[in-house]
């Protein structure tokens, strides 16, 4: 696929972030969309492709007054937006449309106009996981981790370091939900949610949204913002049941998606200036660093503890503070993409000096799905 011929020309989050009790889910989609359109200097009538998750692209198109020739409703959890970018690149290359709007909006905290987490009792999850008392992601996404820790001789302290170092990044971000410094003892001593996970190893629950606009790289040069180009993308899925994940120490979907994106981009790991790994919980960056090939199996915890991913480190990771400290409305992938774009435009609150490339890696469900996008601010 000629992924190189696509660029991000509009990118924005919702006007407010955190607690937004006066806006519904679809209103958050629209607010982010309007901000991204303004960022790109476009009107809804300039958009001929739409993509979103959580709501239907039909709802989005109608609400925004868009008549698209391309609609993507891929909904595989929090990494859906990485897949939307991938599919949009293919669609633009194939001539299905010219300008794609991707939106996300979620009233994760205030629950205005949003639906619940329930699964039908006849579904696979309803039959083979719900009866055992699972109560949402904190008790499901976390289940493989004791096996991971035992395999590599690690402890909960290794999870705590992830939260501590990401909080250092969040402290530089005025829009971050939590900015106060943390210690490992703070994290280990916080309320226990699902042993071995304390509250500070779990993501926030907030309201918010974001939107991206993509077009061909050729056109991208003519927009007001510095274009951010898509160099490579990947996606995969594994299982809707975390209990059926083939290897509790590594995500197959991560490995497949990451490899595809790297192969397509032509980048080596040493070429990567900035990295986002969707961190719904503190173990995700460990799995991500290893499954994307930045670290050998079992070595990510040491890599983080040695401050390689911290401010001034060689691989800045989750520089907005991540789902642990920045925000997490439920499907966080959009915010990871926004931070990659900000870094490559050179306007991030915690800007990585001279960043030219960014890898943005998302997870969907509980290790159910994955999407990876590799960006550059240099024209391919």
């Amino acid at each position: 696929m000629k992924q190189k011929s696509v660029g991000v020309v509009g990118a924005a989050e919702t006007t407010k972030m955190g607690k937004i009790p006066d806006v519904s889910v679809i209103g958050l989609h629209a607010d982010a969309a309007l901000n991204a359109l303004a960022d790109a200097g476009l009107k809804p009538s300039d958009i001929d492709g739409v993509a979103c998750a959580g709501i239907s692209p039909v709802e989005l198109a109608h609400y925004m007054g868009i008549t698209p020739t391309y609609a993507d409703g891929t909904s595989v959890g929090g990494c859906s937006f990485m897949l939307h970018v991938r599919h949009a690149a293919a669609a633009i290359n194939e001539g299905l449309c010219t300008t794609v709007l991707i939106t996300h909006g979620e009233s994760g905290r205030s629950r205005v106009g949003s639906s619940g987490f329930g699964r039908a009792p006849s579904s696979l999850m309803g039959q083979f996981e719900m009866p055992y008392g699972v109560a949402g992601p904190p008790t499901m996404f976390t289940i493989p981790v004791l096996r991971y820790l035992k395999t590599y001789g690690l402890t909960a302290e290794d999870l705590a370091w992830v939260a501590v170092i990401q909080r250092e990044w969040a402290a530089k971000n005025p829009r971050a939900s939590f900015k106060d410094p943390l210690t490992v003892d703070d994290v280990l001593g916080a309320d226990m949610i699902a042993w071995p996970f304390t509250k500070l190893m779990c993501c926030l629950v907030t309201d918010g949204g974001g939107a991206l606009i993509l077009t061909s790289a050729e056109r991208a040069k003519d927009f007001p913002q510095k274009p951010v180009y898509v160099l490579g993308t990947g996606e995969s899925v594994e299982t809707p049941l975390v209990s059926q994940m083939a290897d509790f120490t590594s995500s197959k979907a991560f490995r497949v998606s990451g490899k595809k994106a790297f192969d397509e981009s032509g980048l080596a790991h040493a070429d990567v200036d900035h990295l986002m790994i969707y961190d719904a919980f503190a173990h995700l960056p460990l799995y991500g660093l290893e499954d994307l090939g930045f670290c050998k199996p079992g070595e990510a915890a040491g890599f983080i503890r040695e401050r390689n991913t911290a401010i001034g480190g060689k691989l800045p990771l989750n520089t907005n503070g991540g789902g642990l400290s920045y925000m997490h409305s439920g499907m966080y992938g959009m915010y990871a993409l926004q931070e990659s774009v900000r870094q490559l435009r050179g306007i991030a609150p915690a800007q990585v000096p001279g960043a030219r490339t960014s890898v943005c890696h998302g997870v969907g469900g509980m290790f159910a799905a994955s999407g990876t996008v590799i960006f550059s601010n240099e024209a391919p």
Partner: protein, 135 residues
């Protein structure tokens, strides 16, 4: 306390839940490639053969991983409980609860041997839970 969330069997999974009711942990295996698999379906997920059979598993396994849910779901009572994955002797993994032992990290050691323990819920549904092997 609200009634416990229970499964609603489908035609493809009915043999499994009927097995639990009868005190038998029923798995499926492929007669072509001999792969044992779970959850139930009408074909082999490894080789796609429809030539599969239901058989009674040993009910033995080891504790593969777990969390201890400190904020019990309302239908699960008021005490913290482990949500576990057992690795069955036949190969497949299965989510379950661990019974007949304290729900603590000290007691719940990974790789400890477990044995299925059927817990009747209703006339139709019995859940396959697991208990530590004694001695």
């Amino acid at each position: 306390m609200p009634p416990r969330m229970l499964p609603e069997p489908t035609p493809e999974t009915r043999h499994f839940w009927d097995g639990c009711k009868a005190g038998e942990l029923r798995l499926q295996r492929c007669t072509a490639c001999h792969e044992s698999y779970f959850p139930p379906r009408a074909f082999c997920p490894k080789c796609a053969s429809r030539d599969v059979e239901v058989y009674p598993a040993s009910g033995k396994g080891v504790l593969w991983s777990y969390v201890i849910n400190m904020r019990p779901r309302p239908d699960m009572g008021t005490e913290p409980y482990a949500i576990a994955v057992v690795k069955l002797a036949e190969g497949p993994q299965m989510m379950t609860n661990i019974v007949d032992c304290p729900q603590t990290p000290e007691v719940l050691q990974l790789d400890m041997p477990l044995q299925v323990s059927f817990a009747r819920q209703t006339d139709d549904i019995t859940l396959p839970l697991f208990a530590p092997v004694k001695g």
